[in-house]
Symmetry: C2
Subunit: 328 residues, 2 copies
């Protein structure tokens, strides 16, 4: 028996930065960066939210897919959390000169991704196949797949009305109170090829420490996905994105609050009740382990704040060790 045959098969449901970091951790912890094992399935499949997708200047932009892809390819801008290293902005500056509204920042290198994606989509290639091509070109070994090839768009209800996700998130700096969320098109969407299998056949199924409402819910809301998670024989774990009552990044805390949830790992756990077996919470939230356990979860308490590549790999290895086997 080769060592690779004992590699567990991991499927990660992910949004942007939090999902990208944990995906990177698993890619480092698993053989061959999460690539195919013995010509079989990939050791790591990352199923990514597309509700954040948008069109800018006629180009199709998939922010969460790209954040995960760039992070897995280790070409992402770590400090900023999105986009590519060593970016320049010559095209964007010229777009502004030509009268375009450039509040959504697109770097010159990043633009190449959107140009290729847009060209392929217009040729009729599905988003999942485009993503596979782009990820392969960047050297990503893990499988990266949009949850759906259909068009799903997150719309955000704010006190000043319903706005497109990037309008809320980037243009208005997620400053509006989120009164509700709508995933336009999700009822008609179908999971992309391989998504349900990746959920069903995984040994370890992980809900990334991504925003439960903005990143995870539009993945689960694609018809068939939530049901597959519920029915999966995998060991299932969710990592809380709330640590010490705050979000590591982004508006998760505000959204929990305005939607009437407790802003804590316990509040997050309540959202995932019945969906996963294990809640992974931060050691700063050790006092919540009891109440989370009372909801019916197993609880893993560890340092969930990943920081750089080493921290990501450490968390991935802990999840593999502590959660990866039944009854661990």
């Amino acid at each position: 028996m080769s060592t690779s045959q004992i590699s567990p098969r991991v499927t990660l449901l992910a949004g942007g930065v939090g999902g990208a970091r944990l995906a990177h951790g698993f890619a480092r912890a698993l053989p061959d960066g999460g690539g195919p094992v013995d010509d079989g399935p990939h050791a790591l499949t990352v199923v990514v939210n597309v509700g954040d997708d948008t069109e800018r200047h006629g180009l199709s932009v998939s922010p969460d897919l790209d954040t995960v892809m760039y992070t897995l390819a280790e070409v992402n801008d770590e400090e900023r959390g999105w986009g590519l290293q060593d970016e320049s902005y010559a095209t964007l500056e010229q777009l502004a000169r030509l009268g375009e509204d450039t509040w959504f920042t697109l770097g010159d290198k990043d633009l190449a991704t959107h140009v290729v994606r847009t060209a392929r989509l217009r040729e009729g290639v599905p988003l999942s196949a485009v993503t596979e091509q782009l990820a392969a070109a960047l050297g990503v070994r893990a499988r990266l797949v949009p949850v759906t090839d259909y068009r799903v768009r997150t719309l955000v209800d704010t006190p000043s009305g319903r706005v497109a996700f990037q309008e809320y998130f980037v243009r208005r700096h997620h400053a509006d109170a989120v009164l509700g969320l709508h995933f336009d098109g999700v009822e008609e969407a179908r999971p992309a090829p391989g998504v349900l299998d990746a959920v069903t056949d995984a040994d370890l199924l992980v809900v990334a420490p991504s925003n439960p409402f903005l990143s995870v819910e539009p993945v689960l809301a694609v018809p068939g996905v939530r049901e597959a998670v519920r029915a999966s024989g995998a060991r299932r774990v969710a990592v809380s994105p709330i640590v010490g009552g705050q979000a590591i990044k982004g508006p998760a805390a505000q959204i929990l609050e305005t939607l009437g949830h407790e802003v804590s790992a316990l509040g997050v756990a309540r959202l995932y009740a019945g969906l996963v077996d294990v809640m992974c919470i931060d050691e700063r939230d050790d006092h919540l382990a009891g109440p989370v356990r009372d909801l019916g979860f197993e609880v893993l308490v560890t340092d969930t704040v990943m920081g750089g590549p080493d921290g990501r790999e450490r968390l991935a290895r802990e999840l593999l060790t502590a959660v990866g086997q039944p009854g661990a």
Copy 2:
């Protein structure tokens, strides 16, 4: 009577570099850069070939329109003859990394033009309206108009078969013998709004020193344009792109030769017989003035090699003075 009221109305039929340079000369010689006179028509209208247009990476590229636009806006790369000053190539390099074929060079700033054009065209805006918007954003005062809003594509018959224009021109460095030319779609094309009026109502109608086969013919071949030139009451002049038996730039000389024409200003004059009143030939071709006159042309002999902005303006002023009035 204001001075602007005596400005003649000039219409230039143009391809790429030669057309762009003479357009720039007229823009400098005419009031307000060739802009509208007393809220009336523009002093300068440049009608541009679209047979060179192409799609690269899913983006709509109009090389001749852009060369004229950038030159009129004085943001063009003078040394290279195409594209913008101070360009960078970060997107193109990334496109190559993503597996795209990048033999057609696109700078980062230049890409903004193609991104905006593509977005507007896909929204259903005609090329002429997109061009007007782009030119205005860059501060162009003259009217810049594609000869047609329809899709016309120059195809080049070479010893190795029929190839798309940019395949011949850029990818193969116009090294193939040109056995014939085909303007795909031209029979169904219609002149863009204002083109026929600009030809008909001009005081001075100028055929730029552009390639007669690759640049001028696909303009004239749009149904109605050649007829309008023939019927125009304007003073009509063609400037020879062949000087001393050679082309200033590009493959005009080779094409004249392989298509069986004399490689000289006289050979060019024969192509324009019956179309224009005056042939403008270079002083180095003074000995051809007699034979050109024998074809029925008036002849203007001058320095037609424009070089920089001053030379362009000088040639434009000479054409305005010597040709701009009937019987001049």
